[in-house]
């Protein structure tokens, strides 16, 4: 993590600019950003800890609390709303047995709604990890959840840990 952060910091004349890229690197490694990780980032960059905390709590892509192995981020902004993303949210809540914002007890899924993902041509759309899934309907949502469950079943313990299971 230190090497990656130092490489990112070299792109800026001021170390403070590297806090955002450093937090993205740290979150990729740890799954989320608990206090000790924020302090490590501050120490690596040699910046004030409060500067790191204020960014981690401002930007929505940073998670200071654990999230599931698969973070289902369903867009519910206007273009997706018009194409009935609400129905998909209700369906996911039923299928996963959790409410919006919750994580399944096995730590596999966190379900969130997010603001516009910038992919309205394929509304309703959901981001899971690095990938966008568009033109969703209930059948496609079910197939996606099944695929993700199967992928988790095949992953090794080390891969799950690297992906950042909750509660670590």
């Amino acid at each position: 993590m230190r090497e990656q952060i130092e490489a990112a910091a070299a792109r800026y004349p001021d170390q403070r600019s590297a806090i955002m890229p450093a937090l993205l690197i740290a979150q990729k490694e740890h799954g989320h950003l608990p206090g000790p990780v924020l302090e490590e980032v501050a120490d690596i960059l040699g910046v004030e800890r409060v500067w790191v905390y204020e960014l981690a709590t401002f930007y929505t892509l940073f998670h200071t609390e654990p999230v599931g192995l698969f973070h289902l981020q369903l867009c519910d902004n206007l273009s997706c709303m018009l194409r009935r993303s609400e129905d998909l949210l209700r369906h996911l809540e039923t299928v996963l047995g959790i409410e919006k914002g919750g994580t399944t007890p096995d730590g596999l899924f966190t379900l969130s709604t997010v603001e516009c993902l910038g992919a309205c041509e394929m509304a309703p759309v959901m981001q899971v990890g690095d990938d966008y899934h568009g033109d969703l309907d209930i059948a496609r949502i079910d197939a996606l959840v099944d695929r993700l469950r199967a992928a988790a079943g095949q992953a090794t313990g080390a891969e799950l840990a690297a992906a950042g299971p909750p509660g670590e």
Partner: protein, 421 residues
């Protein structure tokens, strides 16, 4: 038949690779710019083209560039605003995913014009595929001498760094983006000073949108008269339109600036779903006031839409059909602005909180008889009283919904229910 300019490489196999881009004449405009023109001459070309910023404000690009001091004791920076967050907008993502070299070439020419040797490309963190493609494109361009030191063997050095955003709509506001790049919370700055004089690290800085920058190589290659010949003279050029919502063929369309909104929605995007009628259209992302169906015969350019009481914004065209509750639409739009308010100034932070509460109770059938007056009073308190345009956009959007669909708001309050669901 309009020949695509900005999207001409969309269907080219592996169009994101340098080999494909070069095969279509890519980077020849950069060579022409560096070999045949001085930086000031490039600024003049862009001024003559009447190119106006595609991020939403429509400010003349060449004029913006000319504000950068010619002699400065500090480095100058170019920032590309790729933090595409305006709901209904996806044009920049598609350009960066499928034709990243077009953006890099545009950035290199623009940097040459303003005298910058470093650019930061501020892109949404969610755009993972676009980020990968840009990283690959930047590496390819370095290897081929289109980026780096002594570009094309000439006295011009230029590098592009990617900076990933982390989920904050306000970063689309250029001074908030600068604070974010400096490692701070993204909050707009008081202006002046303007970024051209004191921007990133208090150095002269130009911030341009992705679509603005990709117009530049074409202006250099084909000349400002060609560019001005497309669409209205004061607001010309090829334009990307993002169609979404209740249309049969949502997607990204490239057509001349100034095309009629009705043609765009009904002919190009196929109109509403079978059996439905259009109720209203938002022409430029949710910051742009909606236009009721009877107003669709308006030109999609900065001046025509402003005259019609709306704005071109990001050209995120969201179509709303007659199955939709407009109170719900207004509520969702204001919830978005409330969520994205950076918290710096009170009218936006607190005012939108109140607006959301009132709208939610009206939508739920629990509105009070004076709630519409409350909403107007809140709009009055927000509009014109905020640091940046976020609060204004919210107030204008709500006022348009109230002006054109007041009867739906009144019905919710009088009947104490929503008749749409």
């Amino acid at each position: 038949m309009f020949e695509p300019v900005l999207l001409r490489n969309m269907d080219v196999p592996d169009g994101h690779l340098l080999s494909s881009y070069e095969a279509g004449g890519g980077y020849q405009a950069l060579a022409k710019a560096l070999r045949q023109y001085t930086p000031d001459e490039i600024i003049d070309l862009v001024k003559q083209s009447n190119l106006r910023g595609r991020g939403g404000a429509g400010f003349p690009t060449g004029l913006k560039w000319s504000f950068v001091p010619k002699r400065a004791d500090k480095p100058k920076y170019l920032c590309c605003n790729a933090d595409e967050g305006e709901p209904g907008t996806f044009k920049d993502r598609i350009i960066m995913e499928r034709d990243p070299h077009q953006l890099i070439e545009g950035m290199a020419i623009s940097a040459y014009a303003i005298g910058a040797d470093t650019a930061y490309l501020y892109i949404r963190g969610e755009y993972v595929l676009a980020i990968r493609r840009l990283e690959q494109a930047i590496a390819e361009a370095h290897a081929k001498g289109y980026l780096g030191t002594r570009i094309l063997g000439l006295d011009f050095n230029f590098v592009v760094h990617i900076h990933c955003g982390a989920g904050a709509y306000i970063c689309g506001e250029e001074t908030a983006m600068l604070d974010s790049l400096e490692g701070k919370r993204a909050q707009p700055r008081l202006k002046p000073p303007f970024p051209a004089v004191a921007g990133l690290y208090a150095s002269p800085t130009v911030i341009n949108n992705v679509e603005t920058l990709v117009c530049v190589p074409h202006i250099v290659a084909r000349g400002p008269d060609w560019f001005r010949g497309i669409g209205p003279d004061k607001s010309p050029g090829p334009k990307l339109y993002c169609l979404s919502g209740h249309v049969r063929q949502p997607g990204l369309y490239e057509l001349p600036m100034g095309i009629s909104l009705r043609e765009l929605v009904e002919d190009r995007a196929g109109g509403p779903p079978p059996g439905r009628r259009i109720k209203a259209v938002i022409p430029g992302g949710v910051s742009a006031p909606l236009i009721p169906e009877r107003g669709l015969d308006v030109g999609m350019d900065f001046d025509s839409l402003a005259a019609a009481g709306s704005m071109l914004g990001s050209a995120g065209v969201i179509v709303i059909d007659d199955s939709t509750c407009m109170v719900k639409v207004a509520t969702r739009i204001i919830e978005f602005f409330h969520h994205e308010s950076c918290g710096k100034c009170t009218p936006c932070r607190e005012g939108l909180n109140w607006v959301v509460k009132v709208l939610r109770r009206v939508e739920a059938g629990q509105g009070a008889p004076d709630d519409l007056e409350q909403l107007e009073a809140l709009c009055k308190g927000i509009f014109g009283n905020t640091f940046c345009a976020l609060g204004d956009g919210a107030a204008m959007g709500l006022r348009a919904a109230l002006a054109h669909f007041e009867h739906e708001f009144v019905a919710h309050i009088e009947e104490r229910r929503c008749s749409f669901h």
